[in-house]
Symmetry: C2
Subunit: 357 residues, 2 copies
């Protein structure tokens, strides 16, 4: 019933097995930089309507794969589905980021939060995964994902995006116990959500810790990393007899890679501020690495894109265990010709590196 | 004529000499969190009018010193005075950040930029420094400052604040030579500006590299660090027979401290994401360190503020060469009672640490 996977480079690299060429995908690869995405999005109405329609979510998930020879698909969804399922009242203001009608600020708010079974509360996500798997038909693996407990907590506490985390850090530094209670609840929700995604067909999962990097080192360990480790220890690591690798991505977490590798994850996502080769030397063969081109390189010329791709691949070398990616999501103003140049360069240059090893 | 300095803890710490207690100041200490600042600001009209009025700039510079036992004053000004003097047409939109009427995007734009002598073009800054020195009357030293060439370039190229640096990084990755020409011009301007500040009476200077941390490591070295090193090598390091220390602060630069210490600066400013003790072990006795409490700790309780201050001071230990500061500017929503708690804790705890050494 399940078609065999025709391209397993991505899963092989995550498992630190040799590959013919370095697999490549892009964070936010289904997104606004693609005219075909903007067209589907305008049909759907608002952003969450697109996320909640499995057929359209499948359509936009497939769009970058039709345009580029990518080695993985990623579920089209949003990290704020969990707070939405926990009845925070997610909405989008035109021209603004996401907002919540009911921010979570007090112990009473936290105690009142429901944790519904995610397979049911977010059945539209599970339907999207099943639809995409059928549509992929074994072409490449499908990645599922969730925000980290800390990252979800910041949105729920602030009620919107933030630069300063006035309320989230205010809670951390005035009532840390209350924050721990919230993070425990979110850890249960994230674990359940990712397991439901794996049951539905996700072949790898990534935890996006978008805001872990705004913490001090002790606060990162206590309020973000510890809960991600707990999520990982609670995950089913198998889907249809295949191992399901787990990728951990803390933006701005370059100083803490050794501790991140201790969580039991299979791979670390890296932003562009760290040197890929130096990171490999730090974590050795314990985990694979995913990254880490500066997304802004795609604002440059083809020549510079190729130079930067080459520099990055050479820095990692011929070792197994690298998934090429951007260090953050692709920007909406990127010309879709630049990723084509980037992906072609990854394939050509990495093929030579791997052939020479 | 020049009154002797009655409190030299700050300069002693920058020169890695022993002190009785760790000196403390706060980035953006003259700012919106103070009701007296908001009152003066409303008298001045807009923000740049406040910067351009030496009497009012002096008034707001002195306000935090009247409230708290701080060990240094910092010139009240803005990092965008240089682009303003270079005729980029600085203006402030209500509720928005700074903007430029004439962003710098092309080689022609860059070639056309004037570099006026800063002592004349920014004479209001020099008048403010002289006024503040007279008003301080030797109470504590006065810090002058400038944005780094790269940080100023990002604002001038984008024309406003940015999260993605679409145009600045676009130029870096399509026409790096043009960007180097701009950075050379800004290096001349910044060097001249800081020397004029030192001539006017600045007793230490800080280079704010607010946006160096958004670069890859090679790009940081090539487009930010190299130009800061050039600025530092061109500075007069003396004011009235006293050495003028230079502090280099790259926000997000925690991975590159060793290279930053090689610029010839006297001290490195640290943001809060790095462990202060680990940083000291990395740079040893080569430079002093300034920082690095998470500014958001000031949203917490007095108890947590004291705990975090103690943790930070213990992490550095009894060695000479620490200036206590926040890891970034103080937030406008902080209750002015929290900094009072913080400063008192720094003094009490550090006095014990230094007495025991």
């Amino acid at each position: 019933m399940i078609p065999p996977l025709r391209n397993d480079r991505f899963l092989r690299a995550l498992n630190r097995q040799p590959v013919d060429q370095t697999p490549v995908w892009m964070m936010r690869q289904a997104g606004r930089y693609l005219p075909e995405y903007r067209m589907t999005r305008s049909q759907a109405g608002d952003f969450m309507s697109l996320c909640k329609n499995p057929q359209l979510a499948c359509e936009v998930t497939m769009q970058p794969l039709e345009r580029y020879p990518l080695d993985a698909a990623i579920l089209f969804s949003d990290i704020l589905t969990i707070p939405d399922a926990m009845e925070c009242g997610l909405y989008f203001e035109a021209g603004e980021g996401p907002r919540f009608q009911r921010p979570v600020r007090t112990s009473a708010d936290i105690d009142a939060l429901p944790i519904p079974p995610m397979a049911e509360a977010l059945d539209y996500v599970m339907s999207a995964i099943k639809t995409i798997r059928a549509e992929l038909n074994g072409k490449v693996p499908l990645i599922g994902f969730s925000g980290s407990p800390w990252t979800l907590a910041t949105y729920m506490i602030e009620g919107c995006g933030s630069k300063e985390y006035r309320y989230a850090k205010g809670l951390m530094y005035s009532d840390p116990i209350a924050l721990h209670v919230l993070l425990e609840k979110l850890t249960m929700a994230v674990t359940d959500y990712l397991n439901a995604q794996i049951d539905a067909g996700a072949q790898a999962v990534q935890i996006f810790d978008t805001w872990g990097g705004v913490l001090t080192e002790p606060a990162y360990r206590e309020f973000s990393l510890a809960y991600m480790a707990k999520v990982i220890s609670g995950l089913k690591r198998e889907c249809g007899g295949q191992k399901v690798p787990v990728i951990l991505f803390t933006k701005g977490g370059g100083g803490w890679l050794e501790a991140m590798a201790d969580t039991g994850c299979d791979a670390l996502g890296l932003d562009w501020t760290v040197d890929l080769g130096a990171c490999r030397r730090r974590v050795g063969n314990r985990v694979a690495l995913q990254g880490n081109l500066d997304p802004s390189v795609l604002f440059g010329s083809d020549k510079q894109v190729i130079l930067e791709v080459g520099r990055l691949l050479q820095s990692f070398g011929a070792h197994p265990g690298h998934v090429f990616n951007l260090g953050h999501g692709i920007n909406q103003f990127v010309d879709p010709d630049r990723p084509a140049t980037m992906i072609k360069a990854v394939q050509q240059i990495s093929r030579e590196i791997h052939a020479g090893s």
